[in-house]
C-alpha cells in the first residue's frame, strides 16, 4: 500500500510541476519569505520613537538620534499631545537635573525600558565606539513585526496546501481519471492519503524553506512541524471538499480562497482583541496554530502550551473532517 501511495504522491508532484498555477502556488511561500526578509527590519534596526524638547541640550538630542528616531517639540504640551497619538512614542521631559519618561501607557514594555537605558547610557557618557556591547532586545529575541509577518506566511502556506489539493482533484475530475484509479487495487483511503501527502509535504517544505530564508533557522523545529502538520488537517479537508464540488480550476481556487477569511479573522482576533475577548476566537483552529507559531517563532514556547494549541487544532479540524467525510467519500466514488 505504501508503495502505491508514494506513486500517487510522485505522480501529483510530476503533474503539478507541469501546471503553471500549481507551480506558482508551490513557489508562493518562498517568494513571500524573500519579501519579508528584504523589507522587514532586522532586530538591530529596531528602535523607539522619542519626543524631546527643542530647548534641550543639542548634544543630548544628537546622542539620542544615534539610537532612536527623535522628534523635537517646542513645548511640553506639544510633546504630551504627540504621546497621546495612536503609535508608540516616549517623551523625555526635563525635571530639574534629571528627566522623566512620559508614555501613554499602552506601549510595549520595551519602549520605556529602551528609553530608560538610552538615557542612562547618555548620563554615563557611554559612546558607540567605547563599547563592544550590542543592544539585542527587550523581552524579545526576535523582531515582533517580522515574527508576525512570518507567522502570517505560515498560515497562508497552510491554506495553499488546500488549494493544491483542490486543483489536483479538479484535474482528476475533469480528466475523469478518478474512475480509472477506482478500478485498480489502490484503495480510496490510499488515494486520499497520497493526495494529502502531496499537499501537506509541499506546504511543509514551503514553511521550512520560508523560515530559513527569513532567518528563523534556530527555532524548535519539532514544535513548528507539529503545529504545521496539525493545522494542515483542516486545510486538506477543505481542499478535498472544494476540489470535489468545483467544476473547474478557477472555481476551486476562488472557493479555497474563502479560507483566507477565518485565517485573517483569527490573526486579527489574536493581535487586536483584548485578553478578556480572546475566548471569542477559540472556535478557530487557525487561532490556536497562530498563537502556537508566534510563541515558537519568538522562542518563548513551552511544550505544554504547544501541545494544548496542537490538541485544539486537531480536535477542531477533526470535527470538520467528520462532518465532511460523507461528502468526500461520495465525491471520490
Amino acid at each position: 500500500m505504501i508503495k502505491k501511495i508514494l506513486k500517487v504522491l510522485q505522480k501529483d508532484f510530476k503533474t503539478s510541476r507541469r501546471d503553471f498555477m500549481a507551480a506558482y502556488i508551490i513557489m508562493a511561500p518562498i517568494l513571500i519569505a524573500i519579501a519579508i526578509a528584504v523589507f522587514t527590519p532586522g532586530l538591530n534596526d529596531t528602535t523607539v520613537n522619542l519626543a524631546m524638547l527643542e530647548s534641550d541640550d543639542a548634544a543630548h538630542i544628537e546622542y539620542m538620534e544615534q539610537f532612536a528616531k527623535v522628534e523635537v517639540f517646542e513645548s511640553v504640551e506639544d510633546m504630551e499631545a504627540r504621546v497621546e497619538k495612536r503609535d508608540d512614542i516616549a517623551a523625555l521631559v526635563p525635571a530639574g537635573d534629571s528627566y522623566e519618561i512620559v508614555v501613554q501607557g499602552n506601549e510595549p514594555e520595551a519602549v520605556p525600558g529602551y528609553t530608560k537605558v538610552l538615557e542612562a547610557l547618555y548620563q554615563l557618557g557611554a559612546t558607540k565606539e567605547e563599547t563592544t556591547a550590542e543592544l539585542m532586545s527587550f523581552g524579545h529575541t526576535v523582531p515582533p513585526l517580522k515574527t508576525m509577518f512570518v507567522n502570517m506566511m505560515i498560515s497562508m502556506t497552510v491554506m495553499l496546501a488546500g488549494m493544491l489539493i483542490a486543483i489536483s482533484i479538479v484535474e482528476e475530475k475533469t480528466e475523469n481519471t478518478i474512475n480509472a484509479v477506482n478500478v485498480t487495487p489502490l484503495t480510496q483511503t490510499g488515494f486520499v492519503i497520497g493526495k494529502s501527502l502531496f499537499g501537506g509535504l509541499t506546504a511543509l517544505a514551503g514553511i521550512v524553506i520560508g523560515l530559513f530564508i527569513t532567518g528563523y533557522g534556530d527555532i524548535n523545529w519539532i514544535m513548528i512541524i507539529l503545529v504545521g502538520l496539525s493545522s494542515m488537517i483542516l486545510s486538506l479537508v477543505v481542499g478535498f471538499i472544494q476540489g470535489l464540488t468545483s467544476d473547474d480550476l478557477m472555481e476551486a481556487a476562488s472557493n479555497v480562497k474563502m479560507l483566507f477569511l477565518p485565517i485573517a479573522g483569527s490573526i486579527a482576533g489574536y493581535e487586536l482583541l483584548a485578553d478578556k475577548w480572546q475566548w471569542t476566537m477559540y472556535w478557530s483552529p487557525f487561532y490556536w496554530s497562530y498563537k502556537a507559531n508566534l510563541l515558537i517563532l519568538s522562542k518563548t514556547a513551552d511544550w505544554p502550551t504547544v501541545l494544548l494549541c496542537t490538541g485544539m487544532v486537531i480536535a477542531l479540524s477533526l470535527v470538520v473532517y467528520f462532518l465532511a467525510r460523507p461528502k468526500i467519500r461520495e465525491g471520490l466514488s
Binding site: 508503495k3 506513486k7 503533474t15 480528466e175 481519471t177 480509472a180 478500478v183 485498480t184 487495487p185
Partner: protein, 284 residues
C-alpha cells in the same frame, strides 16, 4: 467468470430502475456482448460489475469476488477500458501507463509494448493532453491491458476510431480472446458485437430481452432468402429464392447452372435487424 442474479439498480428512489431484475452468466474465456441503445442500462450494469457503482439489489460475483464486499485486490484480475478516454493530460503516454502499472500487485506488461500494440509508436513521450480524441481512446484501451486481466470490461472499444484503427483494436481483442481472456463488451455497435462476441444479450429499458449466440439469432430470425442478379438475353435480372422451399432451391440451381451470375447474397438478418425485431426499438 461473471454471475449476476436479479440485479436491480436505482439512481433515484422514486424513479424507474436503470436496471431491473436482470440475470446472466459469463463463462471463462467467453466474449460476452451487452447490447442496447443509449440509456438501456449497459453502463449501469458495467458500473456495478466493476464496482464503480454500489450494488443495491441482487447477487453479483465477478472473477471470484462478491461485489457486495469491496475488495480492491480483485482489480488485479480485471481490466477496464472506458468509453470516455480518461488519461492524465500532463503525463506522457508512457508515464500514464507506468503510473497505473505501479498500482497493481501482479506482473504488468511493458508500457512501450502496449503503446506499440495500439499504434502509438513514436508518441510515447508526448503528453496525453496533446493527443487527439482517438489517440487518447487508444491509450485508455492500452491501459486496460496493463495487468494482463483475466476479465476485461470493454465499453464501446471502437467508438470514434477510424476503420483502420478499429480493425487493429478488434484484432487485439481477438488475440486476447485466443489467450483465454474473458471479455464483457458493452456496445451499441452490432457489427462489432457480431464479429467479436460468442454470446450477446439485448438490453432495453433496464431489462434483458434475449441472450444467445449471434449465429443462433441469425438462424432463428434470418429470412433464409438468397438475392441473385444474373444476365439473361443481355439484360440483368434480379430474383429472390427461398432456401427452405425445394422448388426455389431447384430454380436457384438452374439459374446458377445456365446464367452468368452478377451478384448473389444470402439475406441473413443482421444483429441490428434482429434487435429491432425483438425489442421493437432501434439502437440509437
Amino acid at each position: 467468470m461473471i454471475s449476476v442474479k436479479n440485479l436491480s439498480h436505482l439512481y433515484n428512489k422514486e424513479g424507474k430502475p436503470a436496471v431491473n431484475n436482470i440475470s446472466f452468466e459469463v463463462e471463462k474465456g467467453e466474449t460476452f456482448g451487452f447490447l442496447g441503445p443509449s440509456g438501456a442500462g449497459k453502463s449501469t450494469t458495467q458500473g456495478v460489475l466493476t464496482g464503480l457503482l454500489k450494488l443495491q439489489k441482487g447477487e453479483v460475483n465477478v472473477a471470484g469476488y462478491d461485489v457486495s464486499h469491496v475488495q480492491n485486490k480483485r482489480f488485479n484480475k480485471i481490466g477496464v477500458s472506458f468509453e470516455q478516454s480518461n488519461v492524465y493530460g500532463k503525463l506522457t503516454a508512457k508515464e500514464n501507463l507506468e503510473f497505473y502499472a505501479k498500482l497493481f500487485d501482479v506482473e504488468t506488461r511493458d508500457a512501450q509494448e502496449l503503446i506499440d500494440l495500439v499504434g502509438l509508436s513514436g508518441k510515447e513521450n508526448v503528453r496525453a493532453g496533446e493527443f487527439s480524441k482517438g489517440m487518447k481512446h487508444r491509450l485508455t484501451f492500452a491501459r486496460s491491458m496493463i495487468n494482463n486481466p483475466e476479465l476485461w470490461f470493454l465499453d464501446e472499444p471502437t467508438t470514434g476510431l477510424d476503420p483502420a484503427i478499429a480493425a487493429t483494436i478488434k484484432d487485439i481483442i481477438n488475440a486476447q480472446k485466443a489467450k483465454g481472456t474473458t471479455a464483457f463488451l458493452t456496445t451499441h455497435n452490432m457489427y462489432i458485437a457480431d464479429e467479436l462476441c460468442d454470446r450477446v444479450a439485448f438490453i432495453i429499458d433496464g431489462e434483458i430481452k434475449l441472450i444467445d449466440t449471434p449465429k443462433n439469432l441469425k438462424l432463428k430470425y434470418g429470412q433464409k432468402l438468397v438475392d441473385v442478379e444474373y444476365l439473361e438475353g443481355g439484360k440483368t435480372k434480379k430474383e429472390t429464392f427461398k432456401t427452405i422451399d425445394e422448388a426455389d432451391r431447384n430454380k436457384l440451381a438452374e439459374v446458377i447452372k445456365k446464367h452468368d451470375i452478377q451478384t448473389m447474397h444470402t439475406k441473413e438478418a443482421t444483429l441490428e435487424e434482429i434487435f429491432i425485431q425483438v425489442t421493437g426499438r432501434g439502437l440509437v
